[in-house]
């Protein structure tokens, strides 16, 4: 399949997704939190709670440490931009997205890395103990998670003979159902990476500020008001982006083909359904597992890398 010059429907699809992700991302976070609340026998704050939090934060006055540099101020915008871009270029509602061709899977990993680097630098910028510690831990986790993620994406690329996301997704969605052992391994590895990168249990806990264990929260302790709002929003977008990658690689069925206007509503509905289901799965997984000591995290992520590499090797041997 060759995607030709930009077409009108493609642009519309792209704009739809652009808006959809940025608006729906907090909803996804709210949904996961709500599911967690239900699983813990709480009534929960409702799925719209993240919007209320964002609204509240945007209204507040920002407080910035007097020794903060420009890096600290710029970071929320960079992180938010990166995540928005990442979530936008992953084909989830339609195969044919003009922005998708801006970056292949490797560049996508690079976009995540860019956001992470700014986050870590900003955390160290203030010079507090917590910020530095959080940055260090975050870098350790991502240092281990990134190769695994790349291996997962390589497996998918090998199977579809391309590193371009639209090609991969379109190849998978049009294939007949087939048991790919390599893809199954990659999916498991991806799940682990998803948990680690989005600061979920068992690697990190997004709802805690316990200094001994927190990773991501330690990095953003100094942020307030609109800066914090942007970072929270970016976190939601990141979770959304990771879910999107998972869906695009492992469950692409039902995605709209090039120029199929009529398929769009169904595609969006299916996507929302898949996302909701994935959210329930995440909440369930988090409810069932315990947070591990930070020193065990390398082993956990090592497993992801191992699984991904095994998947790749098995693909070579079995061509499946």
């Amino acid at each position: 399949m060759i995607i030709n010059a930009v077409q009108i429907p493609a642009v519309v699809f792209q704009l739809t997704q652009l808006l959809l992700v940025v608006l729906a991302a907090p909803l996804l976070t709210g949904w996961v939190n709500q599911c967690q609340a239900w699983l813990q026998n709480r009534s929960g704050a409702g799925v719209l709670q993240p919007y209320r939090v964002l609204h509240k934060l945007f209204l507040k006055d920002a407080v910035i440490a007097y020794n903060a540099s420009w890096l600290f101020r710029v970071t929320p915008y960079v992180v938010f931009g990166c995540m928005w871009l990442a979530a936008t270029i992953i084909p989830i509602i339609a195969v044919d997205l003009p922005f998708s061709r801006a970056a292949d899977v490797i560049a996508l990993v690079g976009v995540f890395a860019l956001a992470r680097m700014f986050g870590a630098l900003a955390a160290m910028d203030i010079g507090t103990a917590f910020g530095t510690m959080g940055a260090r831990r975050e870098m350790m986790v991502s240092f281990l998670a990134e190769p695994a993620l790349l291996m997962v994406l390589f497996t998918a690329s090998m199977l579809s003979h391309s590193t371009q996301l639209p090609y991969i997704v379109s190849a998978f969605s049009r294939h007949q159902f087939m048991l790919y052992p390599s893809l199954a391994f990659a999916a498991l590895a991806f799940l682990i990476v998803l948990l680690a990168e989005n600061a979920r249990i068992p690697v990190d806990n997004p709802n805690t500020h316990l200094e001994l264990t927190m990773i991501h929260e330690a990095m953003i302790l100094e942020y307030s008001a609109r800066h914090l709002a942007l970072i929270e929003w970016a976190s939601s977008l990141k979770l959304f982006a990771y879910f999107s990658i998972g869906i695009a690689l492992f469950l692409p069925y039902g995605i709209a083909e090039v120029g199929h206007w009529s398929a769009l509503p169904l595609s969006i509905l299916l996507l929302l359904f898949k996302l909701a289901l994935a959210g329930v799965g995440l909440a369930l997984f988090e409810a069932l597992s315990a947070k591990m000591r930070i020193f065990r995290a390398p082993e956990f992520l090592g497993t992801a890398f191992l699984l991904a590499v095994l998947g790749l090797l098995i693909h070579f041997l079995l061509s499946a």
């Binding site: 052992p181 391994f185 095994l310 079995l318």
Partner: protein
């Protein structure tokens, strides 16, 4: 490139087998190790059954049954009994640093896949590549035997080695002659009994099942 469903299943089971060996390599608890071994037996029996079904080799059903009986039920049960009697159920083993052993493991997988690649070209339809996976499992089990310090885990590694070989025999070559398979099964059973006898002798003599007590014999 569409493959038969049975082939897909066999491939999936083969990959699972490889994954289980890796899990065993990384497993610290003896109890979980034995459970993984039982799981490995189950996967093995299933893949033997599927291969038998798809190739019409009905004697493989006996092999699958034998595997189920011996390796999923009898041997794990014996091992469970043994570790209960020896009171080593909760023993935790210090291993070679897990990431390092995993990396060595991956290197072994690459090595065996390379070695088996020319053979895979020869294999007909169903069993392409299974020799490579079997060889990788064999080498990984060997690695496990080398890195373990406890007698029980060494034995589980030995049995896992045997399982990998059985997988090679059942899936890659569609079953050895039945008389050979029975002979092998008998040998494995007897070997397990002898291992059991050894456990008691070793513990009686050394007061522990740690092999590191047994490094006295040297050339000097």
């Amino acid at each position: 490139m569409q493959m038969l469903l049975t082939l897909q299943i066999v491939n999936l089971l083969a990959s699972l087998l490889l994954l289980i060996v890796f899990a065993m390599l990384a497993q610290r608890r003896i109890l979980s190790l034995i459970n993984l071994f039982a799981l490995q037996g189950a996967v093995l029996a299933l893949s033997t059954f599927v291969v038998g079904y798809s190739t019409g080799q009905h004697h493989l059903y006996y092999s699958a049954g034998l595997t189920l009986l011996l390796k999923v039920m009898l041997l794990p049960w014996l091992l469970h009994r043994l570790i209960r009697q020896l009171d080593v159920k909760w023993d935790v083993e210090t291993l070679l640093n897990i990431p390092v052993s995993m990396l060595i493991g991956i290197a072994l997988v690459i090595f065996s896949f390379n070695l088996a690649a020319p053979i895979s070209q020869l294999a007909h339809g169903l069993t392409r590549g299974l020799i490579g996976i079997a060889l990788a499992s064999v080498l990984l089990s060997l690695l496990m035997m080398l890195t373990r310090r406890k007698a029980v885990s060494q034995v589980v590694a030995f049995l896992s080695l045997e399982n990998s070989l059985f997988f090679a025999a059942a899936s890659a070559t569609q079953g050895m002659p039945l008389v050979v398979e029975f002979g092998i099964a008998l040998d494995v059973l007897v070997a397990t009994f002898i291992f059991g006898i050894f456990f008691f002798q070793i513990r009686e003599t050394f007061d522990s099942l740690d092999i590191s007590h047994m490094e006295k014999l040297k050339d000097d």
